[in-house]
């Protein structure tokens, strides 16, 4: 594979200082696991910080260590590709609270036992703080750009609003400046599913079987919000699963996964439990629910960007009902009101919220054009 030629490396940084968190607590000895792709130039001016979404991780290019699947943005990364590794040095860090090497609820607390629910509740800004500390450690004062989709977009917005001098550009895809009641509601269904699983045990399940059933249901509910009604209809319709012996599926008047959509969701839920920690899911969804960029800045979103000098680009998708176009427009208007250079585009794609991860040529053009500047 040509990817072998792209310098890719995995690292873990021990943060030199305790992280001061929005919740008032201080987190000592935190670690940040990150992947780098490409080569940092001598001026350290070509770095692009990629923020990952809720259930992704730092593996943007390298295969996922648990699933063996290619990195979640591998299709777009490479020499001359949408994200051009000949020009840019990519950094992607597992978020604080995550479960792929950065400190989270599954990590050992100073007393030698896993934090579990003793882990402090964190915010999107706390996740960004940890990554700013990473940039400090790497000696990168100003990024070429920050980029993120969904929760990654929230981090990109938080970064550009709170550390405006540290990036020259911000690309925010399928995201929002605050979680809506509906967003919070869906997350709460997921959290309750986890907590209702007897194997959750108040979060103290490490060393034994975790609340896989609850986590799988959480993933199933969330996964529905990532797809469009039209996309689901096209993919599954009312089609029935073939029987295990290969004969055509028929209704059995029972409760097995007969519809293909049921079978698909169950598979999504189950496979998720192989790679994700249930407590991490609780903490990260909580951080997203707390996200309200305007609230952090006196209730006015434009105020959040008062010091912003970066170029901004916001992209939404017409079938995304999780973070609909209106959310991106609101951000773009706030940036306009703050006088920041901002572009906004709503792209047409059939895949709902997930469009930001899938094959949408129009998105590739926007990303390549914006980062190529």
């Amino acid at each position: 594979m040509a990817d072998a030629a792209i310098p890719t490396a995995s690292h873990v940084l021990n943060l030199p200082h305790p992280l001061q968190l929005d919740g008032g607590q201080s987190l000592p000895g935190a670690q940040v696991a990150y992947e780098t792709v490409g080569t940092l130039n001598a001026e350290k001016s070509n770095a692009v910080l990629v923020f990952h979404a809720l259930t992704m991780d730092q593996h943007i290019l390298s295969p996922h260590p648990k699933t063996g699947k290619p990195g979640w943005w591998a299709k777009s990364i490479g020499p001359g590709n949408v994200i051009d590794t000949d020009r840019h040095f990519l950094i992607c860090a597992n978020v604080l609270g995550g479960c792929m090497g950065s400190t989270g609820p599954a990590s050992m607390a100073p007393d030698g036992a896993p934090y579990a629910m003793r882990f402090p509740v964190i915010t999107i800004r706390d996740m960004v703080r940890a990554q700013v500390a990473l940039l400090d450690a790497l000696g990168i004062e100003q990024l070429h750009a920050v980029v993120g989709g969904s929760m990654g977009g929230m981090q990109a917005l938080s970064f550009a609003a709170n550390w405006p001098e540290r990036t020259r550009a911000a690309l925010v895809i399928a995201s929002t400046a605050r979680h809506s009641a509906q967003n919070i509601a869906f997350h709460e269904v997921g959290r309750q599913a986890i907590m209702a699983d007897p194997k959750w045990k108040g979060g103290d399940y490490y060393g034994g079987k975790g609340p896989d059933n609850g986590l799988a249901v959480a993933r199933m509910a969330a996964h529905i919000t990532y797809l469009s009604e039209e996309g689901m209809h096209e993919k599954f319709g009312r089609k029935l699963q073939d029987r295990p012996d290969g004969t055509k599926g028929e209704k059995t008047f029972g409760f097995d996964a007969e519809f293909q959509v049921e079978s698909y969701l169950r598979h999504q839920g189950l496979s998720f439990t192989d790679r994700f920690d249930a407590n991490s899911y609780l903490y990260i969804t909580r951080a997203m629910d707390y996200f309200d960029l305007a609230e952090e800045h006196g209730g006015r979103l434009a105020q959040a960007f008062a010091g912003a000098t970066a170029r901004f680009c916001l992209v939404s998708f017409d079938t995304d009902w999780l973070y609909p176009t209106m959310e991106s427009r609101t951000i773009a208007h706030a940036l306009n009101a703050a006088g920041a250079p901002v572009s906004f585009v709503e792209l047409s794609a059939p895949f709902g919220h997930d469009s930001f991860l899938l094959d949408v040529p129009a998105l590739d053009r926007v990303i390549a054009g914006f980062l190529g500047q």
């Binding site: 170029r311 306009n336 901002v342 906004f344 129009a362 053009r365 926007v366």
Partner: protein
């Protein structure tokens, strides 16, 4: 002006350097890029077609996807020195209201449009009794985006009614500038600079 459309070239030559301009219906951003690169203008754009927005982003331009009828309302009063509307007025639902919005958002406004009273258009109607299909109006009546055809005289009258001032006017026949004499029927294309 390396290949800039003639009406855009006229606008580019008459925008004050280092000003702020909003190009409404900016297309692929040719005018904005010209204004930025040769006159240090802080140019912003509004464009309906996402493909065009992507092209603009690729040129480092700042463009919002949106349309003249609905989305000008989001811009504060006098936030630009110029609002520019080139070959778009005749496609809007309410050209009169769009004109008001242009001169609310911009202190001055450039408006360019194909002149529906050009003699070829008149001849087509007079001799053939048909809606014209010409170089500047190349699409048949049933599918043209030009839903509000306007003539130089109509436009002047609307401007006068609204009490706006004409600060400059330019007329084009093909790619050539022509004088204002008999422009009402000789000009294929008109460019106006207006102020409140």
């Amino acid at each position: 002006m390396n290949g800039l459309r003639p009406d855009l070239a006229i606008i580019a030559q008459n925008v004050a350097p280092s000003s702020r301009a909003l190009d409404v219906g900016c297309g692929d951003g040719a005018l904005m890029a010209e204004l930025r690169d040769t006159r240090q203008v802080d140019a912003r754009g509004l464009e309906l077609d996402p493909h065009n927005v992507a092209l603009c982003v690729g040129k480092g331009l700042s463009v919002m996807q949106g349309d003249a009828d609905a989305d000008l309302a989001d811009y504060p009063d006098a936030s630009f020195d110029y609002a520019i509307l080139s070959q778009t007025l005749q496609t809007t639902k309410r050209p009169d209201q769009v004109l008001d919005e242009l001169l609310r958002v911009g202190r001055k406004a450039f408006v360019s449009f194909p002149n529906f009273a050009h003699w070829k258009v008149r001849a087509s109607l007079l001799w053939n009794g048909r809606m014209p299909v010409t170089r500047l109006l190349p699409i048949a009546w049933y599918e043209t985006p030009n839903i509000h055809h306007v003539t130089v005289r109509d436009f002047r009258e609307l401007v006068a009614q609204k009490g706006y001032r004409v600060e400059g006017e330019w007329f084009l026949l093909g790619d050539k500038r022509i004088g204002p004499a008999a422009a009402a029927w000789r000009a294929e294309h008109a460019v106006f600079l207006l102020s409140r």
